[in-house]
Amino acid sequence: MSQPPRIEVENLTVTFGEGRRHVVAVDRVSFRVEPGESYGLVGESGSGKSTVLRAICGLAPIEGGRVLIDGQNLTGARSRAFTRQVQMVFQDPYGSLHPRHTIDRILSEPLSIHGFQGRDQRITQALEDVGLDPAFRFRLPHQLSGGQRQRIAIARALILEPTVLLLDEPTSALDASIQAEILNLLTRLRREKQLTYLFVSHDLAVIDHMCDRLLVMRGGKAVEEMTDGALASRDVDSDYTRALMKASEGFVRPGAA
């Protein structure tokens, strides 16, 4: 094999609590994501999809199995090199930005931690990348709309020029029209910067739109892995995936055809 996968997750197990409160949040989940690929994790609440992302970042304890980035096994506290390479975008753009820091400060903090030069120009560039006017630079998060805030969160993740973006329900808190704008932005950025995405969502249609391959999860376990087009052609093995697909089509009145 010439090149290791960008992300490799092998029999990942994450547990919380002890004794009677012991919970297996992720149960022996495995998948690999090639460089430049967009991979989706889809499932309902409690399926463990977000916990997988958190485990990759070192925010959840890895109880068993391994996580490798470019063939490197991740153990212990994540290194500075790791945080440069792997960045995360969270669901709630209201909670993930410091309310009393200006956009300028929010964007320059990662740059100063990693000792990047030419901050000024990088911040202007980052704002331009996510389609925001440079005038936003000296505003506070509460002066922005939800969609604009999510753009800032994406700009903050991209400012360190990572190769991997972990996206945890990045559009669930947004209106449908804003969701479309953010999804288009993410698609364009991936193409321009050759990024690898690991995209978590409860919305099957969003995952199908954004990802080349996807993994359906339920109760901490992997249900089935599917390639692009399998959903559309209903090439589905598990009943659970079928139930999810049906649910995403909306309400069907009992008795109606």
């Binding site: 209106d175 449908a176 969701q179 479309a180 249609a205 199908d208 739109h209 999810l244 909306g250």
Partner: protein, 279 residues
């Protein structure tokens, strides 16, 4: 057609801000009979405020105005609070979005349902218990005896929402206003809750106002859809004909949703036009 259950004409909700009055709802008119009416719009479109205004739940300094706001022939604004309470909760009920915030965390489910019953009558203990258990069974709760003694934090989101619905329906209202009743729930649970609502609406001949941001869901669940944009109704359409929507805002909302099998092409985005403000 018989007289509608609820009749709303030129409803406005106004808030005073430092920059002058702001109209969250700007002249909304519609009727609701014994049917399912959906109100759809994005955040800030005034859909929730419309629902609250009907029940007199807009808090000061917000102001509600209407040339007509009648329920079963009774003009609601200006009704003394005492009389309003005989309508609110008994004849018109409201289900809110998130059971975690709208159930009382320090009261058992049983006491909360009993409270709803006691406010609207003087039932005996045995009767309260029976009606509560029946109602919980009706919203498909498997173990009503246990749930009656449970606190809200001991229930899952879907169960909490069903308890909310049970609480709102135990007084047998004629009109139910449901404000994003399933948005906090997983898709599969969402459908289960909708099935229960659908069943109850049909069997009891209740009117339902279903407020949601989810155009696709509303179109599959309701009979008629009102599309709101910036405090106004821009389009009213039969749910089954939604794909023939005329207004560019409605079309835009429908088109910007990703679809399974829709490919990876860029999604059409909504180009907002100032003209829509006065639609």
């Amino acid at each position: 057609m018989s007289a509608p259950l609820l009749s709303v004409r030129d409803l406005t909700v106004t808030f005073d801000t430092r920059r002058g009055p702001f109209e969250a709802v700007r002249g909304v008119s519609f009727d609701v009979g014994r049917e399912r009416v959906g109100i759809v719009g994005e955040s800030g479109s005034g859909k929730s405020m419309t629902g609250r205004a009907i029940l007199g739940l807009v808090r000061p300094p917000g102001r509600v105005g209407a040339s007509r706001l009648t329920f079963d022939g009774t003009e609601l604004p200006g009704l003394p609070e005492r009389q309003m309470r005989t309508i609110r909760g008994r004849r018109i009920s409201m289900v809110m979005q998130d059971p975690r915030y709208s159930l009382n965390p320090v009261m058992t489910v049983g006491r909360q349902i009993a409270e709803a019953l006691r406010v609207h009558g003087r039932p005996s203990r045995a009767e309260i218990r029976k009606r509560s258990l029946d109602m919980l069974a009706e919203v498909q709760i498997r173990d009503p005896e246990r749930v009656l003694t449970a606190y809200p934090h001991e229930l899952s989101g879907g169960m909490g929402q069903r308890v909310m619905i049970a609480m709102m329906l135990v007084t047998q209202p004629e009109l139910l206003i449901a404000d994003e009743p399933t948005s906090a729930l997983d898709v599969t649970v969402q459908l289960e809750v909708l099935r229960i609502l659908d069943d109850l609406v049909r069997r009891r001949g209740m009117g339902l106002i279903f407020i949601s941001h989810d155009l696709r869901l509303v179109s599959t669940f309701c009979d008629r859809v009102l599309v709101m944009y910036r405090g106004r109704i821009v389009e009213e359409i039969k749910a089954s004909l939604l794909h023939q929507a005329q207004h560019p805002y409605t079309q835009g909302l429908l088109n910007c949703l990703p679809r399974i099998g829709g490919g990876h092409e860029a999604l059409p985005t909504l180009q907002r036009q100032d003209a829509w403000n006065d639609a």
